[in-house]
Amino acid sequence: MIKKTSPGYKAVVSPYLLWSILFVIAPMFFVAYYSFTGSDGAWTLENILALGKYTPTFVRSIWHGLLATLICLFLAFPLSYFISKTSANTQRTMVALVMLPMWMNFLIRTYSWMTILQDTGLINSMLAKVGLGPFQMLNTRGAVILGMTYNFLPYMILPLYSVMSKLDQSVIEAAQDLGGNRYQVLRRVIIPLSMPGIASGLTMVFVPSVSTFYISQKLGGGSFDLIGDVIERQFQQAYNYNLGAAISLVLMVLILISMAFLNKYSDSGGGVVV
């Protein structure tokens, strides 16, 4: 084993250290710095104090993020379990299929949903053929949640699948053997043992959902302001980096708190697997 003080150890570690400083610590530092300074560069709490009026937007974002995350969990849990029980070859194929949409550009995927959902889109034109509709689907709350669920579902499936595929089959058999029916085995063994995967899936879906701006713009039609949209406008249109940074900082803190919360409740399984 290499001693932590040896020159070799330092040489091996330094690129990663440099990377972390440049691309993780420095940006965070700038976010914090901008949050507490005005446009003139002087220290101020103005930005933070101005956040009060965005409270409804924060609440809306968190609420929609949570909804999308829970929907992902309910869709992904049975699917991941099903995948983990198939043969090794089928598992590989299914996982590849789950990841396939991720290879396509995020913007293109969201645009496709616009053309599917709009009043003259795929669904409505099919419904029109049987004399129904058109229904307004685009620019609704449902469309935004659909967009989040669709885009972030793989981030729920993959950690769940990776934990479930390592579940010891004999432990599940032991639970059946001891008298557990399907529901009891699920509740008392499979879910608790999948907690690390559930926790990391929740984090990996919740974080991008809560901070997204593109989905709400395209599928929510601007009627639907999420906190990501506000941040984007501050940087792109208002050029108020300081306020944008302050909102980002608060969002970051909120996300950190929710992750810490999750970690605390999934500790029995050995922490979050990403």
């Binding site: 058999e173 059946q176 001891l178 043992l193």
Partner: protein, 373 residues
């Protein structure tokens, strides 16, 4: 009621893909018996156990438990419990919760669960370990938790799938004694799967020797050892010299160019047979007094006795003797009539040969250490 049949397997056949794992297996197990399924890897013993536990449905045949057909009944409705090969404890629960699992899913009262868990932990000598995390326990302790967890459900039959395979030799011996005494104290049926013949002989009331999905012999440990049914059983259980012989008449057999008195009868005149002589039953005498004469080719000291290989006209015998011989010496061998066991020829005849490739190194290699599936 004594001698009540608790499990009855009738004409069980199982195929995995194209491989026939069990072929028309019939087995009756009496209540309160300690029965061992013994055989090499892939002989179908674990499959048999999984059929009784309900994890596997046979392609053909009937599984009868306490007089009722239970084909298709899911595992959680069967009154049997299993000790799994690698314990299969619940890693997210502590010792108490592991043992309480079966009672909790049956919605027993808190007080009853508490009492039963204490009783079970006392039974397996793990009192005071209630709050310990199962992954912090040693292999032997985990094994005890698994036993307590299964027995807490008052199973009518306990199924044990190579439960001691992962323990070291000393611990294995202790656990054998302990399992046997638990079985006697609780008076429940144990169905035990192992590939370790010593384990099978020392613990069981009845041993079922299996190979290739077929039961080769069912009998008491003494019967299995002294009266093997065919060359497979003779070779698998203990060491044996298996020779080609001819029954000249009742109680007279000829092998190694000599006629011997024996205790077996009922064969055709001049029928070809397999003759088994156990290494410890051969008496070493001086070369002039022996019925057979041979040359010592190897001597290995094993503590209790020497293992001596003797070349007898090209066939190498194994002999166990407390007296040392020198390599190259010519010695005489005598065999008493009751040390000779005659078997009918079977598909296993001639498969095992003599001890000519025997060496110390080979002895170590042949120690069974494989795991099934």
């Amino acid at each position: 009621m004594k001698d009540k049949i608790i499990i009855d397997l009738k004409n069980i056949s199982v195929k995995f893909d194209e491989e026939q794992v069990l072929k028309n297996l019939n087995l009756s197990i009496k209540d309160k018996e300690f029965v061992t399924l013994l055989g090499p890897s892939g002989c179908g013993k674990t499959t048999t156990l999984r059929i009784i536990a309900g994890f596997l449905e046979p392609d053909e045949g009937q599984v009868i438990f306490e007089g009722k057909l239970i084909n298709g009944l899911p595992p959680h409705k069967r009154k049997v419990n299993t000790i799994f090969q690698r314990y299969a404890l619940f890693p997210h629960l502590n010792v108490f919760d592991n043992v309480a699992f079966g009672m909790r899913v049956k919605k027993m009262s808190k007080a009853a669960i508490e009492d039963k868990v204490q009783e079970m932990l006392t039974l397996v000598n793990l009192k005071g370990f209630e709050k310990r995390h199962v992954e912090s326990l040693s292999g032997g302790q985990q094994q005890r938790v698994a036993i307590a967890r299964a027995l807490a459900n008052d199973p009518h039959v306990l199924l044990l799938d190579e439960p001691l395979g992962a323990l070291d030799l000393k611990l294995r011996k202790d656990m054998q004694v302990e399992l046997k005494s638990i079985q006697e104290r609780l008076g429940i049926t144990f169905l035990y799967v192992t590939h370790d013949q010593e384990e099978a002989l020392s613990m069981s009331d009845k041993v079922v020797v299996m190979d290739n999905g077929i039961i080769q012999q069912i009998g008491s440990p003494i019967d299995i050892y002294n009266e093997p049914e065919n060359a497979f059983v003779a070779d698998f259980i203990g060491e044996s010299n298996i020779l080609d012989g001819i029954m000249r008449s009742d109680y007279k057999v000829e092998f190694s160019g000599q006629k011997f008195e024996c205790l077996d009868a009922g064969f055709e005149k001049n029928e070809k047979v397999d003759v088994v002589v156990r290494p410890e039953d051969v008496v070493v005498v001086s070369k002039d007094e022996g019925m057979l004469k041979g040359t010592v080719t190897s001597v290995v000291f094993l503590g209790v006795h020497y293992e001596i290989i003797v070349d007898l006209k090209g066939f190498k015998w194994m002999i166990q003797s407390t007296q040392v011989q020198d390599v190259g010496d010519e010695i005489g061998l005598n065999i008493d009539p009751d040390s000779i066991h005659i078997m009918k020829k079977s598909e296993y005849s001639g498969r095992y040969g003599d001890y000519s490739c025997f060496s110390e190194e080979f002895y170590e290699l042949s120690e069974p250490d494989e795991e099934e599936e």
